[in-house]
């Protein structure tokens, strides 16, 4: 799945929550946190995490939770702009890290994995 397709799916599934203002806020969040986004590139785990967190924060307006075991992911500390985004979506079980100690930022998600992320986000949103 490309990054662009993933973002489109998130926006589509969140359409019930989207207002013009939230749409713009989500767009700005993505621009700020993935500034050189190549829409045709295949979705990697980091981009999935950033996009999902942007949705949680800017559209759903869900508060952050404690990092918990996500703090053990060593590679997220290399990304000052996305460490919290990754930790939040891992702590909520929406994006599954590569291992207990490695998130796997640049790993490309398969279509199935991307669909599972979308489904878990929907489940979380549905419970609200």
């Amino acid at each position: 799945m490309t990054t662009s397709d993933f973002l489109d799916r998130l926006m589509h599934d969140a359409s019930a929550y989207l207002t013009g203002k939230k749409d713009a806020a989500f767009g700005r969040y993505i621009e700020d946190h993935i500034p050189c986004l190549d829409p045709d590139s295949l979705l990697n785990r980091k981009e999935a995490a950033i996009a999902v967190y942007g949705m949680l924060r800017e559209v759903m307006e869900i508060d952050d939770i404690e990092w918990g075991d996500a703090a053990l992911l060593k590679d997220i500390y290399e990304c000052k702009v996305c460490a919290n985004a990754i930790a939040q979506v891992c702590a909520r079980g929406i994006v599954i890290p590569k291992s207990k100690t490695i998130f796997g930022m640049d790993d490309i998600l398969s279509d199935i994995e991307a669909e599972q992320v979308i489904m878990r986000l929907s489940d979380l949103v549905g419970k609200r």
């Binding site: 621009e31 946190h33 500034p35 952050d64």
Partner: protein, 601 residues
């Protein structure tokens, strides 16, 4: 985000920017010294990438309205997130939506308030948030831009750096910053075995003796070699910042006369932390080789280099096989921007803040080009935004807490000073969720005692004059400690977990009490009793004035009668029997005092 592929190679390093010059105390390109730690506000902890022009102007207004400007807070710094993601005609450009008026107008606005304007960039190809506007290869035009915008302060990061395996850089860039594995050398045909005949100096280089199967013959062989010839990565909390940070392999070779000679190196290359492709070969302080070696097919396949010409002197010669490029490349890259700033505007006095997170042990070299240097990775990864104060921690296993930064900076006083610059334990988290009032007070006291830059990282709209947060960030006495003209970072004179050498022992266990002391102008001193732990302590601690005077005698302290003023309560009292005594400290609490000779009152 993958690093953009460029055919860049590290510069030749001038002698005055080499490892052997680090202790000479000399600056490069006329870098001005004598600056006290910078004070101001930085957008990152407060608003992250979401900072904008309107928020920045509001913060500038509030710095004045809250009286912070009069206390010394002067720099208003735009951190990451303010540029367009790509250069425009090769130049940096403002992000239109967030900074519609452009940087010159914002700079003018800030200057008209009597404040100073700061910006952010990176020595790599991209900024940490990803924008492809790093200064690497653009130092001249970026210097022109910053001077044109009237910048007074530059914070420069280290992401996407092409000459080391820095954040978002290629892992393989370590090939520039580590020497290959070395098995032996031949000096005029005479073979010396690295693991047997070589000396390992400094720290980190390692002898290895492994048994493995030779790929060609299938037989078992003993592989003895020396590896890890390079510089420790200081980004994390694991290693002390004190002592040697690099390792060398040295052969002592005797010569009967001054003569030319040739040396061949038996080596195997890698492209990872600890094993690289770049060799530095020197005899004493004279460099004879400083470049990549041809790559071998693996780290286990050894070849001999072509002969390298060297000169030997009569007597014992120290042939040094090393790689100090981790430090030298980074110094050189920070120097490139400084060079252009000072060439284009020789009178500029831009404060230069190195933000390479301690990776290259900047405490050794950054004084040559910068005014302060970060010592670790970030203090928080949960920065705020408009409406969210962000989150700060008191303690953490990694760098993201007050105590992680403090634990390292507190034993780095020997690297700091007016003739050098300042250790930077990152921006203040006062005002963030996760820290209570006592922790915020001690966070401020720690930073002031350590002569750290005081960069506020909170949304100042949350502060009212005279409220609890204001009383902390506007504490005149604490600020006077940080900004004392003598410019001496406090020394840790007592640590309950380090009986000997409390000022040099790296302690990460926070269940302890520290006592810091620093000399100030006019015979004054500051002393701080700090309970770093989460439990109340009632052990009682005493420090005699005689001890403080003895430690700081060279700064003009004399054994006079002193009055001490409590920086938090303002109470002043005379010291009884020449002893300062604290009976108890609540969890996270600090008791900090300024000692003033009675004759000065």
């Amino acid at each position: 985000m993958p690093e953009k592929k460029k055919t860049l190679t590290p510069d030749r390093i001038s002698r005055d920017a080499s490892y052997d010059s680090f202790d000479d105390g000399k600056v490069l390109f006329g870098k001005k010294k004598g600056h006290l730690p910078a004070m101001g506000w930085n957008s990152w902890n407060a608003f992250g990438s979401g900072n904008n022009e309107k928020l920045t102007r509001t913060m500038a207004d509030l710095i004045c309205e809250l009286g912070l400007k009069d206390l010394g807070y002067e720099f208003v710094v735009l951190d990451d997130g303010c540029y367009k993601p790509e250069r425009v005609d090769g130049r940096l450009a403002n992000e239109n939506v967030k900074f519609p008026s452009g940087f010159s107008k914002l700079s003018d606005y800030i200057h008209k308030k009597g404040l100073k304007f700061g910006m952010y960039n990176d020595i790599g190809t991209n900024l940490c948030a990803g924008a492809a506007v790093g200064t690497c290869g653009h130092e001249r035009e970026d210097a022109e831009s910053y001077l044109g915008w009237g910048v007074d302060f530059l914070k420069v990061d280290n992401c996407y750096y092409p000459f080391d395996n820095a954040t978002f850089s290629l892992y393989e860039n370590a090939r520039f910053t580590f020497a290959p594995n070395i098995r032996s050398i031949k000096v005029d045909g005479k073979k010396l075995i690295a693991a047997k005949d070589g000396l390992l100096t400094g720290k980190g280089a390692k002898r290895v003796n492994v048994s493995r199967k030779d790929k060609k013959t299938g037989k078992k062989i003993n592989d003895r070699h020396v590896t890890r010839i390079g510089t420790f990565d200081g980004t994390g909390c694991r290693y002390s910042p004190v002592g040697e940070m690099s390792g060398e392999l040295v052969f002592e070779v005797k010569s009967s006369a001054d003569r030319n000679a040739a040396i061949e190196i038996e080596y195997a290359t890698g492209r990872r932390e600890h094993v690289g492709e770049w060799l530095q070969l020197a005899v004493g302080n004279e460099m004879f080789y400083d470049d990549l070696l041809p790559a071998t097919s693996s780290e286990n396949d050894y070849v001999f280099s072509d002969p390298i010409k060297i000169k030997l002197k009569k007597g014992i010669n120290r042939i040094r096989i090393m790689n100090h490029r981790r430090q030298e490349n980074t110094l050189n890259s920070y120097a490139r921007l400084l060079k252009w700033l000072n060439k284009l505007a020789p009178d500029n006095d831009i404060i230069y803040s190195a933000c390479e997170w301690g990776k290259t042990q900047p405490q050794n070299w950054a004084y040559k080009v910068c005014d302060s240097w970060r010592i670790l990775n970030d203090i928080t990864f949960r920065v705020g935004s408009d409406g969210d104060p962000g989150y700060g921690s008191w303690e953490s296993d990694y760098t993201c807490s007050v105590t992680s930064q403090y634990n390292k900076a507190v034993i780095m006083d020997s690297f700091a000073g007016l003739d050098k610059g300042w250790n930077d334990p990152d921006m203040l988290m006062i005002g963030m969720k996760g820290l209570n009032l006592t922790q915020n007070k001690t966070h401020m006291a720690m930073w002031c005692m350590m002569n750290a830059p005081l960069m506020l990282g909170l949304d100042l709209r949350r502060v009212k004059k005279g409220d609890a947060l204001h009383k902390i960030i506007a504490n005149k006495d604490l600020i006077s400690i940080d900004q004392d003209p003598l410019g001496v970072q406090a020394k840790r004179i007592y640590c309950s977990l380090a009986a000997s050498k409390p000022d040099r022992t790296y302690v990460r266990d926070i269940d302890r009490v520290d006592i810091l002391a620093k000399p100030m102008t006019d015979g004054k001193a500051a002393i701080s009793f700090i309970n770093v732990s989460s439990t109340d302590k009632k052990d009682g601690w005493k420090i005699s004035i005689k001890d403080i005077v003895r430690i700081f005698k060279k700064y003009g302290l004399t054994p006079d009668e002193f009055e001490i003023s409590d920086v938090w309560s303002g109470k002043v009292r005379k010291i009884k029997n020449g002893v300062i005594e604290v009976n108890s400290l609540k969890a996270y609490e600090n008791k900090t005092y300024i000692l003033t000779p009675v004759k000065n009152r």
